[in-house]
Subunit: 206 residues, 2 copies
DNA sequence: CGCAGGATTGATGAAGTTCAAGTTACGTGG
DNA sequence: CCACGTAACTTGAACTTCATCAATCCTGCG
């Protein structure tokens, strides 16, 4: 919670579409997201795409592996980030507090990815979609008279590549959730959650 | 590579079926696998199962999140492990070398899990199965006159829960790989890879 | 030798993909 | 400010793949 008392951290603003790093790049920085949304992506040789994660405020992205990035990162919604040097990882003494925060974030990331495994491997399309929204709800849901509102700056294709589905199936799942009275769509990028409880139920499978 | 020069590390032998920790347990130890095979598992409320990872020699399992384990770990094949205290994570100064090794392992784990994402989300049954074998090949493949041999101490159900498939589909995929002349089955637990190149092709999707 | 549990194979059906045709939303230029 | 054009989103229909249900086949072990 206290601002890290070290001079190496730099704040930066990122415009939509900007690429922070590519797969294989030497990893110089780790990014701590203050606002906006980032996207972590991997590609197969055959060109198939998997969105590993969306980075929301509070997240860190860019954990290096053997000094390199293993995924691509770009900006989905204009973002403010704090840029940390990866050196803080390798060398605890450089900034002990920051080092601890980075290690904690990496461990939390592992745990979070394990959840995602269950989703990718063991849930139906409607469950995946509900789980996706349910995960965003406490993080970016903004209250409104008709229920919490979630803004989705990413495309349907992004969501599909995150959930291991096609854009069409994501659309159909949204439509079904709407037909069930669980959500309401205000344009494609804005979801109003009418029945959060029901959303949770659908997300957690039955 | 050099044995960690610290007195806190303890070697232990683990029998098949033994449980190292449950989901939610306070995380006291991290395990470095010397031999044998461990299994990391998560369950959903509805009882569905997802095998997060199989731990092979060289792997570390038991990374804590906020001081707790987030998955269950048990022994698939009798194993020898080195037990490290999780304290080495929180407190770099305790054992700087070990701390560095743990952090590196955690980062490698993140990268490895990202590969798994692609597999779960974007590959067909036969591709998943081929990729599973292909990943094991360089790690546990033992040369033989008729080709590298992989031993699979885990059940078909375990493999299915790892790949996000059913046991039947895993069986059929193995059968198809056999029909294609890519592998040969010597009992259910032993796979001979006749055509490693082809296996790689199938794994990487086309 | 027979039994039990896992592995395999077969038949059927449902879920999701693919292909194709609208529909909506949005930015651009007149 | 409106018309247009493009890209994204949505819906529909046919098809593929994988799950499900069920029977049979190993294989290791008492």
């Amino acid at each position: 919670m206290p601002a890290p008392p070290e001079g190496r951290a730099v704040k930066r603003h990122l415009a939509e579409g900007q690429v922070l790093f590519h797969e294989g790049d030497h990893a110089h920085f780790i990014y701590e997201i203050l606002s906006g949304v980032l996207r972590l992506t991997r590609y197969t040789e055959a060109g198939r795409r998997q969105v590993i994660a969306f980075g929301y405020p509070g997240d860190m992205v860019g954990f290096p592996d053997h000094g390199r990035h293993r995924a691509e990162c770009d900006v989905v919604a204009p973002a403010d980030v704090v840029v940390h040097r990866t050196g803080a990882f390798d060398n605890p003494a450089m900034d002990l507090a920051l080092h601890g925060r980075l290690v904690s974030a990496a461990l939390a990331e592992i745990s979070c990815m394990q959840d995602h495994f269950v989703m990718l491997g063991r849930k139906s399309a409607i469950e995946k979609t509900a789980a996706f929204l349910a995960a965003l709800l406490p993080r970016v849901g903004v209250g409104s008279p008709s229920g919490p509102v979630i803004s989705l700056p990413m495309s349907r294709a992004d969501i599909a590549d995150f959930l291991g589905l096609t854009t069409e199936t994501v659309c159909r799942s949204f439509s079904r959730l709407r037909a069930l009275g669980v959500i309401q769509l205000r344009g494609a990028q804005t979801v109003v959650v009418r029945d959060p409880g029901r959303l949770l139920e659908l997300a957690e499978s039955d």
